[in-house]
């Protein structure tokens, strides 16, 4: 009797061919993007989206053509932070036009498809029973559609702001095997260190040799008046965590109250406060990232 592997093809259901076609379309769309970088956190509440938005803006300030995809389907915040939340996606035959953020950053987010502040992401289905079986797949398909069908144009770097938690990154890395790298965000607390260790271990397995490094967000409090930086959390050493897991430690970003204000106003902090300790930290991080990516104006080429 024939075994599963003896039978060639899928019996005509054509599912495999369609999945392969989806992958080909994704590859084609992203062929105009030099580098895709994921920003990941082990734990929620560490300011990952704030880091993504300000890092992307810092890169744009340094002359890169930048896009940001909010990959947090259920908790999107990037559109608000980049001030494009009122934009309604425009459909064309070639795809969907993204929002234009500050410095002409191209932005796509689930937030742009939702009607108001209170509407959650929910999907129509013949039944909501056993929804846990398919909800994750719907979210990954949505992410793939956003990557594939957004008219990104020519970009030097597309940032993916992933949802918190360690579980999504391996799936996204599987979807984007050509991803240039992943940046891990944590805060200097013992609990966050514990979670980020697990996330880093998973990320290293999913994307070997392409972990850009570990960034400490909220590393101290930057006084907006005297520009001194004080301890904000009882320090836990993210540097030790990075060393133990053999990934680069990329330094810290101090918390400045104006960061939160800027996010709420949809105007990235680094645009107007580049000279502050936090602003300079974002610019330094952008430079470090570009060295990792070997971007052309630093003498390097594509990672794809």
């Amino acid at each position: 009797m024939k075994t599963y592997t003896d039978i060639v093809g899928d019996g005509g259901s054509n599912v495999l061919a369609q999945v392969q076609m989806q992958a080909a379309r994704l590859q084609e769309r992203l062929s105009s993007i030099r580098h895709v970088v994921a920003v990941v956190s082990g734990k929620g509440g560490v300011g990952k989206s704030c880091v993504t938005v300000n890092l992307a803006t810092a890169c744009a300030l340094q002359g890169l053509r930048v896009g940001v995809l909010d990959a947090d389907i259920n908790g999107p915040s990037v559109a608000t932070m980049l001030g494009v939340r009122t934009y309604t996606p425009q459909l064309t035959a070639q795809g969907v036009l993204p929002a234009a953020g500050p410095l002409q950053m191209r932005v796509m987010s689930m937030d742009l498809f939702l009607p108001d502040d209170t509407t959650p992401v929910s999907w129509t289905a013949p039944t909501q029973q056993e929804a846990f079986v398919w909800r994750g797949t719907m979210e990954m398909t949505t992410l793939r559609e956003m990557l594939t069908d957004t008219i990104w144009g020519e970009l030097d770097c597309l940032f993916l702001d992933l949802p918190p938690g360690p579980d999504r990154f391996p799936n996204v890395a599987g979807l984007l095997p050509f991803m240039a790298g992943a940046l891990m965000v944590t805060i200097p607390s013992q609990v966050s260190q514990l979670v980020v260790k697990r996330s880093l271990t998973l990320a290293k397995e999913a994307l070997p040799r392409r972990i850009i490094g570990l960034v400490d967000n909220m590393q101290g409090y930057a006084c907006p008046h005297c520009h001194t930086v004080d301890v904000l959390f009882p320090e836990a050493s993210s540097h030790d965590t990075a060393t133990a897991l053999q990934v680069p430690y990329l330094g810290g970003i101090p918390f400045d109250p104006r960061l939160a204000l800027a996010s709420d106003r949809g105007r990235p902090f680094v645009l107007e406060h580049a000279e502050t300790p936090a602003g300079m930290a974002f610019l330094d991080l952008a430079t470090t990232l570009q060295h990792f990516l070997n971007v052309p104006h630093l003498g390097g080429g594509d990672t794809r």
Partner: protein, 177 residues
């Protein structure tokens, strides 16, 4: 997922896909060796799982529209974002649209296949209360969705606008011989 005819040691081939109807999708496979057919039914969440992959069983006849799955599946979307109509089914559409699961049987019995105008095919068929009751009483629930589709297809082909107990009798005589 693959299926094997043990008698012929041949892989079954996909013939057609029907539905979803009330969340139930019917996928028909046949053995190229002996012609034996089987139908696979998916329950609503299995159907939704297929849909969530943004694939159509049997293949697509037209490429997916931009962000088709997202726009068609979001329960509440933003005003101004068009909602595609064709994306909600997990089955092949257009030129590859499946035919009545009983079409081959009917055709071989009467040696005729009537062309169904598109408008007629799309028209809703009403069911009388008596016909609904009879189907509910006499047809097991797990095949009811597919039986209803077959009966409606039969009724459309003959230009009926309503399914009555008499139409059920006619269909039964043809389907069951």
């Amino acid at each position: 997922m693959k299926f094997l005819c043990i008698t012929c040691d041949e892989a079954l081939k996909h013939e057609e896909t029907r539905g979803p109807d009330a969340g139930v999708m019917s996928v028909i496979f046949a053995c190229p060796g002996c012609g034996w057919q089987m139908a696979m039914y998916t329950n609503p969440w299995e159907t939704q799982l297929v849909r969530s992959l943004d694939v159509k069983i049997g293949g697509r006849s037209v490429p997916a529209a931009p962000m088709e799955m997202l726009r068609s599946s979001l329960a509440q979307g933003r005003q101004g974002v068009p909602v595609p109509a064709a994306a909600s089914d997990a089955v092949a559409e257009g030129g590859d649209a499946p035919q009545c699961p009983f079409a081959d049987v009917v055709a071989s019995a009467y040696n005729e296949i009537q062309e169904v105008p598109a408008a007629a095919a799309d028209a809703a068929i009403a069911w009388t209360a008596e016909a609904e009751q009879r189907v509910a009483e006499r047809i097991p629930s797990f095949v009811r969705a597919m039986a209803r589709m077959g009966i409606e297809k039969y009724a459309r082909e003959r230009g009926y606008r309503e399914i009555t107990p008499q139409v059920l009798d006619e269909a039964k005589n043809i389907f069951m011989g």
